[in-house]
């Protein structure tokens, strides 16, 4: 092995892949039943980058050569950068050796497009196939489907990969037209709907025949770039909702645009990465998937943007004060889940614990409820709660003032160090 050359390639091709945000390595149930290497269960983050993102998979491009010229992408044809390409064997060796040392859960393989979609997709599939069949590898494999690849290759990919994804890139078709004139939405949607049909069909088969092969057991996901084009949060979340509903997606990832290129269609190079907005979108996404919120309750015509100061659940609550206060000792789980400061686990614990005794503030605090937010919206077994006539706006100010004072305290202890 030419260590120097591989190092250089890895640096180039990991660097180019780092803007892909998907990092999940869970949701599959590939077991090591063949005395082989690896298993895939709950997903483990093996490390964290200095920017705080998780490192779970060896996330690389097969190549950063690309025939496309998408404005937001560092690998775009007209960008003057070093190019490299891995061989099939090199990717296999890296994956196996990193996995054996417990650095990673598996492989996330994407690619620039060399020649055409099928030519590129075929190589991605070859790598997955080699790992599974020659190396008995049961770790996680996420392949990025190349838009426009043939159904036949997509089908083969599904047999070896745990998850497949097609990047939508921009939340709307207009945004895509603007920044990626070579790509079209239909090329992204048709593999998605092919995969959806195939996954459903294979799951049915699996119910009938235990030996039927697994097909993309961790499902499909996609990613959209936020902040490169002027879409509102309403447009972003509506689009995510549409894909969850119509294509059975497991996840939609939101990637705050990192300005890396000079292009008059794009935000300037010194524009900050919209990290808070990205975080709020993920919170909103969770509300849709796990907390029973309808997308229109979070964003709508009157409220097209998420509040950056406060999380979207609190935002919803202060717009809907008529729902509160909720009695945590009586209310349904669905309603308790709507209280700011109460998460999934706390809500379930409340339901379990209240069978034994009525809960008071002290107990709610121990259970893990964020009292500083929740206290404006609930009543429990206590005389302390006195419902003052606060408006949603008052509550927002109180909560913000409190979290700000926490912030000030922090900086003070910092200063004392010097």
């Amino acid at each position: 092995m030419d260590a120097e050359r591989i190092t250089e390639k890895l640096n180039i091709l990991a660097d180019a892949a780092k803007y892909d945000v998907s990092c999940a390595s869970s949701g599959s149930k590939r077991k090591n039943e063949n005395k082989g290497l690896g298993n895939t269960s709950n997903g483990i983050c093996h490390s964290y980058t200095e920017d705080g993102r998780c490192v779970s998979l060896l996330k690389i491009l097969l190549t950063n050569h690309c025939i496309f010229d998408c404005a937001y992408c560092v690998s775009r044809k007209n960008n003057d950068i070093k190019r490299a390409a891995f061989t099939v064997q090199e990717v296999v060796d890296l994956t196996i050796n990193f996995y054996r040392r417990n650095y990673i859960e598996g492989l996330f393989l994407s690619s620039g497009i060399f020649k055409d979609a099928d030519y590129t997709m075929e190589r991605l599939v070859k790598i997955a196939k080699k790992l599974r069949t020659e190396h008995n590898f049961n770790g996680y494999i996420h392949l990025k489907s190349i838009p426009g690849a043939s159904d036949e290759l997509m089908r083969e990919a599904g047999l070896y990969a745990d998850r497949l994804s097609v990047n939508l890139e921009m939340p709307t078709e207009a945004g895509l037209k603007l920044l990626a004139p070579d790509k079209n939405r239909q090329d992204m949607i048709s593999p998605m709907s092919f995969l959806k049909k195939e996954i459903i069909q294979r799951t049915e088969e699996k119910k009938l025949f235990k030996n039927a092969p697994m097909f993309a057991p961790a499902g499909q996901s996609t990613q959209v770039i936020i902040g490169a084009t002027p879409e509102s949060d309403q447009q972003v979340l509506q689009s995510a909702n549409y894909f969850y509903k119509n294509f059975n997606l497991k996840r939609v990832y939101y990637s705050g645009y990192v300005p890396v290129l000079i292009d008059k269609r794009l935000p300037a190079l010194n524009t900050a990465v919209p990290m808070v907005r990205e975080n709020r979108l993920y919170q909103a996404d969770w509300l849709m998937r796990f907390y029973g919120f309808h997308v229109n309750e979070i964003v709508n015509q009157q409220q097209p943007l998420l509040d950056l100061d406060i999380d979207p659940k609190l935002g919803w609550a202060i717009r809907n004060m008529q729902v509160f206060p909720i009695d945590v000792n009586k209310a349904d789980l669905q309603l308790i889940l709507r209280v700011p400061g109460i998460g999934l686990l706390s809500a379930q614990k409340i339901i379990s614990a209240r069978k034994f005794a009525q809960l008071s503030w002290e107990q709610l605090k121990k259970i893990g409820v964020a009292i500083n937010r929740a206290r404006y919206f609930i009543i429990c077994k206590s005389n302390e709660f006195e419902r003052r006539d606060l408006t949603g706006n008052n509550i927002k100010q109180f909560i913000l003032a409190e979290s700000k004072s926490k912030y000030i305290k922090n900086t003070q202890t910092q200063l004392n160090l010097f």
């Binding site: 260590a3 990991a14 298993n39 964290y48 920017d51 998780c54 490192v55 050796n97 040392r101």
Partner: protein, 252 residues
């Protein structure tokens, strides 16, 4: 107030519970360690671990709690958290004294405390599953050193055995001076003599030829995936506390 001194095993703890009920003790405190006649104003009792007594308590617990809950108590004890045996004993006494299954009564302080302890132990176990870094030795065995806060090595057996079925491996807890060895068939507990390994002349020769290459590649990869414009040290440290760094290839 009685102080019960037990040997630090789960059986010892269950035996202590037996004695509490047999002697009808009310205020008790459990401590781990050697019996010594001290504490002027306290009664000190030495608990002699007794398998029969422990089993009777265990059977009683199984009648009152789910199997998963009994397992949680076992894990909480085994993790050897300082002074937490009293929460476990408190939980067990509450389970025996109540007229129904109390394991989800999170309003109770013992039930809540056990749930917190389990959360901490599970997090440590999960972190070890993530942060173990194997180094390949000349004889193809993969070696890793760990120093977890709690004694979680026994909880890791299943995970690593399932995962690395086709390679020999050792995970060694330096802090507690014992390790696990998987020999392609089953795992056993071992203790190692490091006096030879720590000799600098030997350290280089024990690793396989490609070990340094892959370590180097991994470090490079780790540096390449970082996005400088998103740097967030506080978040980074929350996920990877500094005390784990010395065993993480990418942080050395």
């Amino acid at each position: 107030m009685y102080t019960l001194v037990y040997d630090g095993t789960f059986e010892g703890l269950l035996t202590a519970v037996f004695e509490i009920y047999e002697r009808k003790l009310f205020h008790v405190k459990l401590i781990k360690g050697e019996w010594r006649a001290s504490a002027l104003f306290e009664e000190v009792l030495q608990i002699i671990t007794d398998e029969n007594r422990a089993n009777r308590v265990l059977r009683g617990l199984r009648k009152r709690l789910s199997a998963a809950c009994v397992q949680r108590l076992y894990i909480a004890q085994m993790a050897e958290m300082e002074n937490e045996e009293n929460a476990i004993v408190g939980f067990i006494r509450y389970a025996f004294d109540a007229d129904r299954n109390i394991e989800e009564d999170y309003g109770n302080k013992y039930v809540m405390r056990i749930s917190e302890i389990i959360k901490m132990v599970r997090r440590e176990k999960h972190r070890m599953e993530a942060f173990v870094r194997f180094q390949k030795l000349k004889d193809e065995t993969f070696y890793a050193a760990i120093e977890p806060d709690f004694n979680v090595l026994p909880l890791l057996i299943r995970h690593f055995k399932d995962r690395y079925a086709d390679q020999k491996w050792i995970i060694y807890d330096i802090k507690r001076g014992y390790g696990l060895y998987y020999n392609l068939h089953d795992t056993q507990y071992i203790s190692l003599d490091f006096s030879e390994v720590n000799n600098p002349a030997n350290t280089i020769t024990v690793f396989s030829d490609d070990e340094s290459i892959y370590q180097h590649l991994w470090k490079n990869y780790f540096a390449s995936v970082n996005i400088i414009s998103r740097k967030n040290t506080r978040l980074h440290l929350r996920h990877v506390p500094r005390r784990y760094w010395k065993h993480l290839t990418e942080k050395i």
